[in-house]
Structures are given as C-alpha cells and as structure tokens.
C-alpha cells in the first residue's frame, strides 16, 4: 500500500482475513471429547515427544464455551449422541470439529446396534483422522491441515454471521 513510507516502520498493512486467520490458527483452544481407547494416543500428542504446544494448540478447555476446536476422540454411541450434539451447540463460532480415529469417523468395527456410524451423522466435521488409534504424527498432520483450512476462510463467510 505504501503506508509504511509515510508512517515509517511502526506500520504494516494486511488483509483483515489474513490477520484474523493467523491469530485463530495458532491459538486453538481445544475441547477434548474423549470417550475410549483413542484417548491414550491423544494424550501422547500432548506429551513432550510430540508436543502439540508447538502448534499453539496445547490448551484444553473443559468448557465448550471457551473452546475453538472440538476433538471427538473415541467411540460415540447412540446414548451419548445427544451429549455430543449439546457440547457442539454450546461452542461459540468460529468452531471446528476434528474426528479422531475410525470409531468417531465411521463407527469403526463397531457396526452394531449401539454405536453411531460416524459423528458426521450428528455434527459437521472438518478433519477426519484415520487409524485405530491414529499415530500422533497423523494428529499433528491433521492439525496442520486444519490450520490450512482456517487460513483459507474469511471472516465474512456465512458460517460466522
């Protein structure tokens, strides 16, 4: 823009979207909705070896109202489905959902009377992580993919109005 030439180096110009998305994607507060064995692997993503803090997403919020990303980790059965829906509804926009492991993604091998065959039957999902359970690397990959996705969004997107 050239504003810098007028005001010196205390200024820089950007688009609102870029600035907001940059802030959003490096400061995910996550709500861990952990129901089953996948939770063990999810914990290791937080521990020092893999260290999800390097991506600015280390902070769990156990109140959905303060969370940005809902991590659904493990098997969700029909009895639990209303709870998941309620947690999702309580989260403030903008919000994203990550489906962690095959159980959350498709019901996994629990093709039976009790288990929801994929949480996308109940809430919208942004990123799916395959695996039973997924490796921590896959989780970090998913997180980076989510960051990519966030960086392409606009504050004017219909979702947020």
């Amino acid at each position: 823009m050239g504003l810098e030439t007028v005001f010196g180096h205390s200024f820089f110009t950007s688009r609102v979207d870029d600035a907001v998305n940059w802030a959003r994607k490096y400061s995910f507060f996550q709500y861990p909705f952990v129901t089953a064995c996948c939770g063990m692997e999810f914990m290791s993503v937080w521990a020092s070896t893999y260290d999800i803090a390097r991506f600015g997403a280390e902070f769990p919020r156990f109140s959905p109202r303060q969370a940005d990303v809902l991590f659904v980790v493990g098997t969700v059965n029909e009895k639990l489905a209303p709870v998941l829906k309620r947690v999702y509804d309580q989260m403030c926009e903008p919000k994203w959902v990550v489906s962690f492991g095959v159980c959350a993604t498709s019901g996994g091998f629990y093709d039976n009377y009790a288990v929801v065959q994929g949480i996308d039957k109940i809430i919208p999902v942004d990123i799916y992580i395959p695996g039973c359970p997924p490796r921590p690397e896959a989780v970090l990959d998913a997180l980076m993919k989510l960051q990519d996705k966030v960086s392409k969004e606009s504050v004017l997107d219909k979702k947020y109005r």
Partner: protein
Amino acid sequence: MNQHVTRTIKEKFPEYVTDSHAFRGDETVVIKREALLEVAGYLRDGLGFEFLMDLTAVDYPGREERFEMVYHFFSLSANLRLRLKAPVGGQNPVIASLTPLWSGANWFEREVYDMFGIKFEGHPDLRRILMYDTFEGHPLRRDYPLDKRQPRLPHRD
C-alpha cells in the same frame, strides 16, 4: 478333581438338579429355575460361596427353554468355583432375583434384563442399564436384527 461340590448339591437337592459336568476342575451344575433362590442360598450359607462373581444369560433359539441363566460363584474361604445354570423360557421369561442374597446382583441383573429381556422377580429397580430408556427390544437376543439402528437424534443429510 473329585467334584465334591457337585455331589453335595446333588445329594441335597436331588429333585432340582437336572445335569452336571466338570471340565479341568471347573464344576457346572444345571438346576430348575424355581430352585434358584434355595440352591443359591445353600451355596452361600451352607457351602461358603460368599462371592457372586458374575451372572449372565445365553440365548439358544432352538431350545425349548430358550434362555439359560449362568451364575458364577467363588468361595474365598475354600478357594472353589462353581458355575450354576438355569434354563428360562416362555413368552415372558422370569427368574428369581439374587439381590436378596447378594446386593451386587443388582446391576448384573439389570444388564441381563436390558440385553435379553429376562425379568427378575424381587429385583428392587429393574430398569435398563446400558441402553437408553426409549430403546426398543433387547439387542443380544438372536432374533434382534443385526443391522437395526435406533438413532436418538435425527441424522444429518
């Protein structure tokens, strides 16, 4: 093994014991269902089986008495195990509850009721324990359709 427990039960209740067998020291006694409370009471107070480890049921659709209750007892004092079985049948399968003898039977029996629809006479609170209250049918019965779904929330698209 000498099947001492099986023999004692047979001698005490000859009219109720219909079958018995043992495999590598694990004894099984099959009794008539109306004798359950009496036999279980004798096991606890007479033979020292203080511990009801587990109770469950099996569905055998071909049999005249369709269901079979299975009880596992353990004696801490004598280090003995015993499996007790009792066939239950009919349109409205009912058997006595073991809650008067072991209060730990409460949740086991609720689970069997939930999964198989077997009723327990004398149970203080016979409700579903695993499935939700609006669930219809009993999913571990062999005639429950394998792919039947009962979603609680309407599914998206």
